[in-house]
């Protein structure tokens, strides 16, 4: 759900969206592998974890209806192999918000932890939006 505590105009560097939890069970992994047309290797594909983080991000950003947000770039670091069945918590925060002419660039920090609070993945996404 969009973060209703803040409007897009009010979003600023340092803002943290409410974290979201996902259970990466066999059914989720199987669905993901079918979607990416891959056979899998017995663990959660790292990009399946990123998909959860990005979904958290897209659901959290309070955009006006009809706004088209473009994923411009992505940085990722995979820190730990994640077994199937793991529950993860995705944390998304605004790192930077830049206005460039008619466009606005939102740079978001991504951190994903497992139940033991160990970081399994981190990254940075750049989203381009109409200003």
């Amino acid at each position: 759900m969009p973060d209703k505590t803040v409007s897009y105009e009010e979003l600023a560097a340092g803002h943290k969206f409410p974290p979201a939890t996902y259970e990466l069970n066999a059914s989720f992994v199987s669905k993901y592998l079918r979607a990416v047309d891959s056979s899998g290797d017995g663990f959660v594909p790292p990009l399946a974890i990123t998909a959860c983080a990005i979904a958290t991000m897209t659901k959290s950003i309070p955009l006006p209806p009809g706004t088209i947000a473009i994923h411009a770039s992505q940085e990722l670091e995979f820190l730990k192999l994640v077994p199937i069945g793991t529950t993860i918590e995705c944390h998304i925060g605004v790192t930077q918000k830049i206005a460039r002419g008619k466009m606005s660039m939102l740079i978001l920090g991504i951190e994903v932890f497992d139940k033991g609070k160990e970081k399994v993945q981190s990254g940075r996404a750049t989203i381009a939006l109409p200003a």
């Binding site: 990416v36 088209i68 995979f78």
Partner: protein, 140 residues
Amino acid sequence: MLTEIQQGKALNSVVKHITQEKINLYAEASGDFNPIHVDESFAAQTPFGGTIAHGMLNLAYISEMMTSAFGRSWVSGGKLRAKFKESVRPGDTLTITGKIDCIEQESDVSYANCSFECRNQRGETIVAGEAIVKLSSGKE
């Protein structure tokens, strides 16, 4: 997995054909139902003129190539930086290629620095970037 890890070595390429069904499956798996990906009548009114694939679907194919080349070293020690340059439409065929640009040694750990690219059937670059894989440590 690669049997020989050396500078200049090409990674096994990955080829994928994109359909609206695959985009819908990805939306269901990821929970990202942005209408630009799944609502054909909405997407037709946008500058894209139709639905486009999720950028993360394209990135998943790049990760598949890296996992195939480096196995668990990629999954628990990989880093990537990617720029999404063009959108992908249903009907496109993507070819993902990569190579090892150099091997670097830091203390007793070696790293493979790779570059990758995803192109469509017209030769346009869709995604381009770099990846680093931690290969081994004398302490492991």
